[in-house]
Every structure is written in C-alpha cells, then in structure tokens.
Symmetry: C2
Subunit: 391 residues, 2 copies
C-alpha cells in the first residue's frame, strides 16, 4: 500500500510476552509491531513478521529498528542509558525518554526522586559498608540499585548479621546496594496509568496484586474494599509521578497498603505490566493499546472497567502432575470454564516462569467466586491439578 496511507510503525525493544501482546493491539491500529528480539523464537518474534534480531544494548540493531518507525519503546528496562541517549541524539522519538526511564532502571535515583516529589515511600539508605547496614525495628529489604526484576535482585534478611553478609557479597560483586525499611503491608496494590507526550494521562482503577515467591501471580480489579479516598490518592500519586518524571506510555506504580491506611511506593515500571494484564479483557482500553496510543501521541482511550470485577491469574511453568500436555489442559479448562479467557505466551514451561495468564470477568458481588475460578483455572494450566475436587 502507498506509504502515505499506511498506519505509523512502532518498534519495541524486547521480544517477550509484553511485546507479543502489544503486537496483537498494534494489528487493530492498522500496523503490526516491529520487535527487537534476541532469538527468533522469543514470544513476540514467533508472531510478528517484523523482527530485528539483536540484544537490548546493541545500538546498531536499535538503529535498524528505529528506521521508518515513528517511535521506539520497550518491553523491559534493560537498554543502557548510553544507548538510549545515542538514539535520542539521532533524533529518534524514544518513549519513555531516557530521562524518565532512568528512574525505572536505578532504584537509588528513583527513591531520591520520589523524596523530592514528596511521594510516600519506605525509608531507604544507600549502603556502602556492610558494617553500616541499618537495622530498624522491622528489619530491611536489600536491593541492588539496578538489574532487579520480578523478585531477582531483592533479598529479605532475617537478622542484621545476615543483612551484613548479603551487603558484603553484593558490594564485592560491584553492585550499588540499597536498604529499604521493611514494610508490614496489609496487601499490595498497583496504580496503572498511561501518559502521552502531550501530557494527557489516563488512569485505570487501582488493583490489588497478590505475590507468591516474590512474583505477582493474581490481580483483582478493582482492589476490593479499598477506601475511595485511598484509591483516588493512589491514582493521583501515579499521575503525579508520570507527569513529573515525563513518562510516555504505561507507568505501573506498585504500592504497599499499610494496616493504618497509608500507601507507600514499592516499585515503578515504565511499560505494560503484569498488574495490567486484566485490561485485555476487562477494560475498554487494554494496557497494550493504550501504550501504543501514548507512544503514537494519539488521544488516550477510556480506561474504565467492562465488568464489576476482573481477575487475572498467571500460568506458571512446571511439570503437569498428570502428564497432560498444555493443549490437553487447555481443552479440559475450556470445557469446565467457558468464560475464562486464556492468554498463552509461547514459552517453554520452565519451573517458576510465567508462561501465560487467564482473565475472568464477573459481577462485583461475585468477586470471591470469580477469583476462585480464575485461580483454579491458572493452577490447572500451570500444574494439571485442582480443576475439580477429585483431581
């Protein structure tokens, strides 16, 4: 087709499930996604014909991907600042820009910036000497300043001695180390927003995220029983962070909700996020479409819920207890739960690895049953157990 009639092209660095699902959304907007993938069988490279093979720190690969694209965006935080800045110097529209993305790459910089913004957050210390590792009443969580992802790069020492040992090891490995006050949270929340270059922001309802082994595995939208004032405060906080940091695209603000009714910022991610997978079936605008609208500088879509409650549950790799293939498990699940939406990522089911998710919608009054059915479906697809009482 003539180029003047073609829809604009977006290139995404990273070939994982986030790029895979962004490709689905890009098709509807008239043009598939260009993907920078390390391997031809990465989840997004399996399903998009427009693949540039290369690593996230390969400037020449990213330059090839940027050619003919109106914007370059990301499905992870691992593109080095020097590479981002070189692309920007070329005149490429990098969304989010390097100046924003650094706060998702460097937890120390993020923590310092949040203090400047007056955002509620746990106390923190940069630790440069094991002997000086702080040990407040509740203890600390130790993090490497950069490279943390989905539970890796985070340690939960049980004593000050153990904390000092971990710090010593990390410093020896050349890591910048951060100690954060350990928060006794009632639960975890996520405030997801999207921001366009023009500054328009759209906020999805605040959700509850349920962690297992340091990994978000269940999301309930909206967070049940959250006081409206606290929900509004969480949305306002996420909007403020997106605006002040100059984010373009989706921003996930992961939060602790404390027993005494406060929210504290745990982590930031500047891309579509696991806590937003429910939007694919449960919001008028999915996070993947919204991310594209933002990086294309289109007006943002309506982020409202399409049902009273929406529950997402992750499918985690492992060996099926009953020896059934995933295909057989999907078959049985569909017979049992004809309303469950299945999303598979095309990944090897290695233990502990997210290989897909399910979404289920229902009436607000049925939230506990909807959650139970979604968790049951994900458990069945993960492990081949628990689909009915007898199994």
């Amino acid at each position: 087709m003539t180029s003047s009639e073609q829809s604009p092209l977006v290139a995404m660095v990273g070939g994982g499930q986030l790029a895979r699902m962004t490709h689905q959304a890009a098709i509807a907007l008239g043009r598939g996604l260009r993907v920078v993938a390390e391997h031809p069988d990465d989840p997004a490279a399996q399903v998009s014909p427009d693949v540039v093979l290369g690593k996230a720190d390969d400037l020449e690969a990213l330059r090839r991907a940027a050619r003919g694209a109106v914007a370059v965006t990301f499905d992870h935080e691992h593109v080095p600042q020097a590479v981002l800045r070189a692309l920007e110097a070329d005149g490429v529209a990098v969304h989010p820009p390097s100046s924003a993305l650094r706060f998702a790459q460097d937890k120390l910089a993020m923590r310092e910036r949040l203090v400047e913004l007056g955002a509620p957050a746990p106390g923190f210390w940069r630790v440069v000497d094991p002997e000086q590792c702080p040990w407040p009443d509740g203890g600390v969580v130790l993090k490497t300043a950069s490279g943390g992802y989905d539970g890796r790069g985070v340690w939960f020492p049980q004593s000050q001695d153990e904390a000092q040992e971990v710090v010593a090891q990390l410093l020896e490995a050349g890591q910048d180390v951060l100690a954060e006050e350990k928060v006794v949270a009632k639960r975890e929340l996520s405030a997801l927003v999207a921001r366009s270059p023009l500054g328009q922001v759209a906020a999805w309802p605040v959700v509850e995220t349920v962690q297992e082994n340091g990994m978000c595995v269940v999301v309930v939208a909206p967070a049940q029983g959250l006081p409206p004032g606290l929900a509004a405060a969480a949305q306002e906080l996420a909007i403020k962070i997106a605006t002040e940091l100059g984010v373009v695209g989706v921003l996930a603000v992961e939060l602790f909700e404390t027993e005494d009714g406060r929210i504290l910022v745990n982590e930031l991610a500047m891309r579509p996020h696991n806590s937003g997978h429910w939007t694919m079936d449960g919001s008028t605008t999915s996070q993947f479409e919204q991310h594209l609208r933002a990086v294309l500088d289109y007006p943002l879509g309506d982020p409202g819920l399409t049902a009273g409650v929406v529950v997402m549950a992750n499918i985690v790799g492992g060996v099926a207890a009953n020896g059934m293939s995933m295909d057989e498990r999907v078959h049985h699940l569909m017979a049992r739960s004809p309303r469950v939406k299945v999303h598979l990522y095309g990944k090897e089911p290695r233990p502990g690895r997210k290989i897909g998710h399910v979404n289920l919608l229902g009436a607000a009054a049925d939230a506990p049953a909807v959650r139970a059915e979604a968790e049951q479906a994900a458990r069945w697809l993960s492990s081949g157990t628990g689909l009915s009482g007898g199994e």
Copy 2:
C-alpha cells in the same frame, strides 16, 4: 520450544482481514496463524510471520500449508471442491469439510438442501432459458450459482424484460443462474453460530445487519425489538443448518425478517463473517477465537454479550474530503470518542472497499445513541466528514 509443548497450529486459506483478525486470536491461544496468501502485503500476511504464498486453487501450496497443521480452514469460499477433496484424501482435517462447504459455494445446492431441511426461504428457480425466467408479483433477484460475494453476482432487475436480458447474458457467460423470489423485508438479520467436530454448537445473539449498496455496513447486537420467539427460531434454524450440513467453525445465516413476522434464509457463509465483527469487543468469545476453538476441536467459549448493546460500523475506502490521512482521522476520532474500538485491516482505501470497522458498546437503553456514535465514527474514518456538526 519443544514440539510437545507447542500449541497446535491452524492454517487458514486466504490472506484477508478475516485471517488477519484470526491471527490476533490465535496468538492468545499460544500459536499464531499460518496463512495462505496471494500477496505478501495481503492484510493477514502483513502481520503473521507464517505465510505460504499461493492462490486458493493451488493444491501444492495448500499441501505445504497443511504440513504440521492440525487443521486447514478458510477466510473465503473460493477453494475448489477438487482441491478440498484432494486435501481430505491426504488425511488433512479440512474444517469446514468439502461436504459442508459446497453449500456455501453453490447457491443452487444450498437452496435445494434448505428445502430438504424444511428451512424457511424464498422460492427459487434454476433458469436455463431466458424466456422461462419466472416473474412472480414482487419480481425476482437473479444470482449466479457460484462466485457471488458481497453484492457481486447478484442482480435486481426492474422488469421481466430486464430479467430476461440479464439471464441471457449470464447463460452466455457459462453461468448457472438462479432466480429467487424478491422478498420485501422489514430488515435483515444474521444468526451466527459455531460448531465443533464433536457437534457442540454455540449461538451468539441474533443481530440486525444494515446494508448499503449491497454490502453489510452496520450491525446492531442484539437486533433491537426482535420478538424473543423469532430470535430463538433464528438461532434454532442456524443450529439446525450447522448440524445437518456438518459445518465446523463459524456459520453465518443471513436472514430476511418480513413484515408479517417470519424469517427467511438469504445466504450462508461458513467462516468468520462481517456480521460477527462486533464480537471482538462485545462478546465474551470473539468469532475469531470461536472459529479457532471449533477447528481445534476445543470446547466452545461463552457467546454472550458483554454490554447491553454493541454496534459495529464498517470503514469503507474512499478519498477523505478534507485531505487528511487515515492516521490523522484516527487521531481526531480518538479525541472525540475515547470508547470507540478501531480495527484497521491494512488495506489500500480503494472506493467501496471495506478497510476496517469500529465497535462501540453501551447500555441497552442508549442503543440509538450508541448506533449514531458508531456510524459517525465509521463515516469520519471512511470519508473525513461528519465528525461534528460543523464539518
């Protein structure tokens, strides 16, 4: 990934928008769609990496596409019976099978089979001599028995003389000619169902289809003001036809609703259909996912509505009155209507050609306003006119 863990592969013959949207659905089920396309820039070939280039009557191309696929299916009716039967003789799972598909390929065979089934339908005659062309009180519609598609292959003569002339021309061109009693319809409906090889059938709510220049351009789901008894009769009729003909996949039964409260079968299509595009955003299970579930022999998904009313309006190619590119028109539309879902097919906007559609959901009580907004959005994207009063 190891082949035992891969999701099963489906191959679809035809690279149009139906295959393009089926690829979106296939991604969620764990494996993209393999597409047989004539050109690398066909709508589906633009977005799937698994393309076999070839025409629909190219048996060797279809054999290549079938290799490694668990089923072969179609985004149109143009694969010759001989080719279908050769694939079946190879042991390929052809869904729908040749024995069913012939009734979507040959209108005479379809009409005769519907009579055997006792299905309500207009009277019809095979015409082999122009002089013998029937002319009942309301006149006739003339059709070629095969090759009709989207208004082409259908004639509406105003007099018996004109009918005889058309028949003479068609017979001379070697066509089999069918005359059907012209139905004075109150409106047109579509009853969409899907059927699996096992015989499970799922029926979406009956919808109203609005035609313009012989082309379906607006769909309202569910059909407004349709008596429940007539809706149930239409669903039962579609289920009966799917079952008796042995359809596998989606079947669209296009219907006339008469002033005196009857339904009559107009056309059959055995594939995802324009009258089912609303399901992408408005049903728990889209027609594309359901078609895949059927041809994969998975249990079918819930075909229920996710809103009180859903309106689909097609975007038709043409020259934008204001000289705006499609990209600019999309931009303006999104600012105006943040709840409209846009689906573009990646096609050259040649006049009269469907190049996309929009879906809009709303409360049942707002049906007229939802329809007006969807039609306005589609008109704007089609022609660059009518987005607001002043334009």
